[in-house]
């Protein structure tokens, strides 16, 4: 069994990134938007891991970065869900369009 070439993995991460991007821009449900953001973050994680493996196999910097990002993503998800819950309480909706009164 031969190794998967780097271009394949990069293709997956790029695809993941743009799927996430598409979801972020088209979905109105905030939970879905949050999931889209997770996709974007994970595409970055894949990039870090794969570049680490192919360019500097003897170092672990990329992997640490990935762990950091996962941690931060968890925190971010917690905050985002807190915001969403509050929004739901005040607006009875988690549609992002319904919370547009914070414009200048």
């Amino acid at each position: 069994m031969s190794e998967v070439p780097i271009s394949h993995i990069l293709f997956v991460s790029t695809a993941l990134f743009f799927i996430g991007m598409y979801g972020l821009f088209t979905r109105r449900n905030m939970i879905t938007m949050l999931m889209a953001i997770e996709l974007i973050l994970n595409s970055v994680n894949i990039n870090f891991v794969v570049f680490n493996k192919f360019l500097y196999p003897e170092k672990l910097d990329g992997i640490f970065f990935t762990i950091f990002i996962i941690t931060i993503a968890a925190a971010e998800a917690a905050i985002a869900i807190a915001i969403i819950i509050n929004l739901y309480r005040s607006h009875r909706s988690i549609d992002v369009e319904s919370a547009s009164e914070m414009k200048g």
């Binding site: 991007m21 821009f25 992002v96 414009k103 200048g104």
Partner: protein, 669 residues
């Protein structure tokens, strides 16, 4: 100076420094306390809580007066004199703003004969007015505020007289101006009072501009603002500063003359000299005790005091001293003429104040420097001293009269002697004093002034002589009209039904009595032993033969007033009619107000005001409005971007990233 003497002087100054600062600071404290808490915690008028503010004010002033008297006693009788020469002491000096080694604005206290004399006059008269106001202002709604303002004035005036630095003088000069403004406009619901307050403030402020420019020239040329150093540098013929200021000329007049004349203009504004006098008669809109304190006895003599303070410098510059002389003589004469025609008793007194200050001014003007030559200087200060007593007495009597009659007009009065015997006697004595009848206070000082004028400038002497006759006439016109002249045809007035306290309360009578005693006694002060132009005492005696002419003229003036006003008759009208235009001109105060109105309204407003307003509205405001309009338009344009939709924000964000990425990847070299 020998070093031993110097050390002695230091010790002497130290001995004063422990309490001297309290004299101005006590009234300041009372101002702060009454101003902040007077309304809430010391209310007036409520039963059981009467006049607490007034009592606080009076007690503070009493302490202040006692300290001033103690200082005066110490200075004049115990340790102020060294080798027959009153020295200038500076017990306290604190550098406030320092510009260079020698040029600084200090807050200090100077003690020399005139400042000590002024301390006594200001605090004493202020005390009398404080006590008098207890009765006069009783039931006034803003009683506490009134006393706060009085304290503010007293603080400012005391600070003014002890100023050791010409800029300190200027600061306190403005402070007395503002307190005068506040007190003239005390009855702020009367439009005339508001107008009078504004007029007083603007006219004196205008004159103070001259004062400020004068200070700046003096300070720039002599490189100091300290009075002592300034006088020293500008009187020593060998000093480079004097050489520079006297040899530089502007428009053909030396800079020293300019500076002193400008300083004098400031003094003339405060002291209501022609033609800057127009504010003083209107200032009578204030409460009468205030007129007694500020517009008769203390603040208005600040100009005289200023010239006296700088007298050594004035003396070496004959031209500016001439200005002082003639402004004084002209004011003395014209104001006396106007006073003969006015019918508002306070206005008569106001014009008589202008006239008497004119006397003080020209006395300074004709004075020489040093020893017997400085007779005019001594006489001027003497007159300031005696005038403070009898003029404040006159005003307080007028206040008592107005309190009863509720009118300022002479025609509403007459025959009051039965109702107010104490006021009657006090007013009579004050009138005799101002008319210069021996042995009352005004006689001595006025004779000294006339003597000084006779020795130096005969023309001024004759003006003074005629004026003293007119003074006697109008003062007795006032006296007879108020207290005699009782064949009244008009319906009975409210005061005729007054059954209780016909003369006001005890607190109104006591100051009258004290000031009457003062008016009787102060004339006998051997003034030249204490105050002279160079600090060296000399003996001056009353020259009986010289006095014959002025006293005779004064008596003639009184007799004319007697024949015209003692009994009601139509003679005054006949005399007025026979004088025709002359009477009318004097009655309209030589049309000074009209001239001012013409100059300001027609000339300044049209030629300067309107073009400036146009530039301000169209060019200055136009530029600003244009900038605001542009900003507004741009913000409307970019407002749409901020939609409130999170996803469009994210889109801008990613768009920005993409643009940045393109820039960094392809365009960054």
């Amino acid at each position: 100076m020998v070093s031993g003497e110097w050390v002695e002087k230091q010790q002497l100054e130290m001995s004063y420094s422990s309490y001297i600062a309290l004299i101005p600071l006590l009234p300041l404290a009372s101002f702060v306390i009454l101003g902040l808490f007077g309304k809430k915690y010391l209310p007036a008028g409520r039963q059981g809580f009467k006049n607490y503010s007034g009592v606080v004010g009076c007690l503070v002033l009493l302490a202040c007066t006692l300290l001033s008297l103690y200082t005066a006693y110490h200075y004049f009788f115990i340790d102020g004199k060294v080798n027959d020469n009153y020295q200038t002491l500076i017990p306290i000096k604190y550098t406030w703003l320092s510009f260079s080694d020698s040029l600084s604005i200090d807050m200090g206290i100077i003690l020399d004969p005139i400042s000590v004399m002024m301390l006594v006059v200001v605090s004493f008269i202020s005390l009398m007015v404080h006590i008098f106001s207890l009765g006069y202002m009783k039931g006034e709604e803003r009683f506490g505020t009134y006393y706060a303002f009085l304290s503010l004035f007293t603080f400012s005036m005391l600070g003014l007289v002890v100023a050791s630095n010409i800029f300190q003088t200027y600061i306190f000069w403005e402070l007395v101006g503002i307190s005068s403004y506040l007190l003239i406009g005390f009855y702020y619901d009367r439009p005339s009072a508001v107008a009078a307050a504004k007029k007083a403030f603007i006219v004196t402020r205008f004159a103070d501009l001259g004062f400020l420019i004068g200070i700046l020239i003096l300070g720039f040329q002599s490189e100091t603002l300290d009075f002592n150093t300034l006088i020293q540098r500008l009187t020593d013929v060998r000093s480079p500063q004097l050489l520079a200021i006297a040899s530089t000329s502007f428009l053909g007049i030396s800079l020293l003359t300019w500076a002193l004349t400008l300083v004098f203009i400031g003094g003339a504004g405060k002291s209501a000299m022609f033609p800057l006098h127009i504010w003083l008669p209107d200032a009578m809109e204030g409460p009468t005790p205030v007129s007694a304190l500020i517009h008769a006895a203390t603040m208005v003599v600040a100009g005289v005091y200023l010239v006296a303070r700088l007298f050594p410098v004035f003396h070496i510059n004959g031209a500016s001293l001439h200005v002082v002389t003639w402004a004084g003589a002209l004011s003395a004469f014209l104001a006396a003429v106007i006073a003969c025609t006015q019918t508002d008793i306070k206005r008569v007194l106001a014009y008589s104040t202008i006239s008497q200050i004119g006397y003080m001014m020209f006395a300074l003007g004709v004075s020489g420097y040093g020893g017997e030559n400085g007779l005019g200087y001594t006489a001027s200060m003497f007159h300031l001293f005696t005038h403070a007593f009898f003029k404040s007495l006159l005003f307080l009597c007028a206040g008592a009269v107005i309190h009863i009659v509720h009118s300022n007009e002479m025609k509403d009065m007459g025959g009051l002697r039965k109702f107010m015997p104490i006021t009657n006697i006090a007013f009579l004595i004050a009138c005799l004093a101002i008319a210069g009848i021996p042995p009352f206070a005004g006689f001595f000082s006025k004779e000294e002034i006339l003597l000084a004028a006779w020795q130096n400038n005969t023309a001024i002497y004759y003006i003074g002589l005629i004026t003293s006759g007119i003074t006697a006439f109008y003062m007795f016109r006032l006296y007879f009209s108020i207290f005699w002249n009782n064949t009244h045809h008009s319906p009975p007035h409210s005061y005729r039904d007054t059954t209780h306290h016909p003369e006001g309360t005890m607190s109104m009578k006591i100051p009258l009595v004290i000031l009457t005693i003062g008016t009787l006694l102060v004339g006998f002060t051997p003034f030249s032993n204490f105050i002279s132009s160079d600090g060296k005492a000399f003996a001056s005696e009353v020259h009986l033969t010289f006095s014959i002419v002025p006293v005779t003229i004064a008596i003639v003036g009184i007799l004319i007033a007697y024949s015209l006003y003692f009994k009601r008759s139509d003679r005054p009208q006949k005399v007025a009619a026979s004088l025709g235009g002359l009477y009318k001109t004097a009655y309209r105060k030589f049309y000074m107000d009209e001239i001012y109105l013409f100059v300001t309204k027609k000339v300044i407003f049209n030629l300067v005001g309107r073009p400036s307003a146009w530039i301000d509205r169209n060019i200055v405001d136009g530029t600003m409005n244009g900038i605001a309009w542009t900003t507004g338009k741009i913000s409307v344009l970019i407002k749409g971007v901020q939609s409130g939709r999170v996803q469009s924000y994210a889109l801008y964000f990613f768009g920005g990233i993409v643009v940045l990425a393109i820039v960094i990847l392809y365009l960054w070299k």
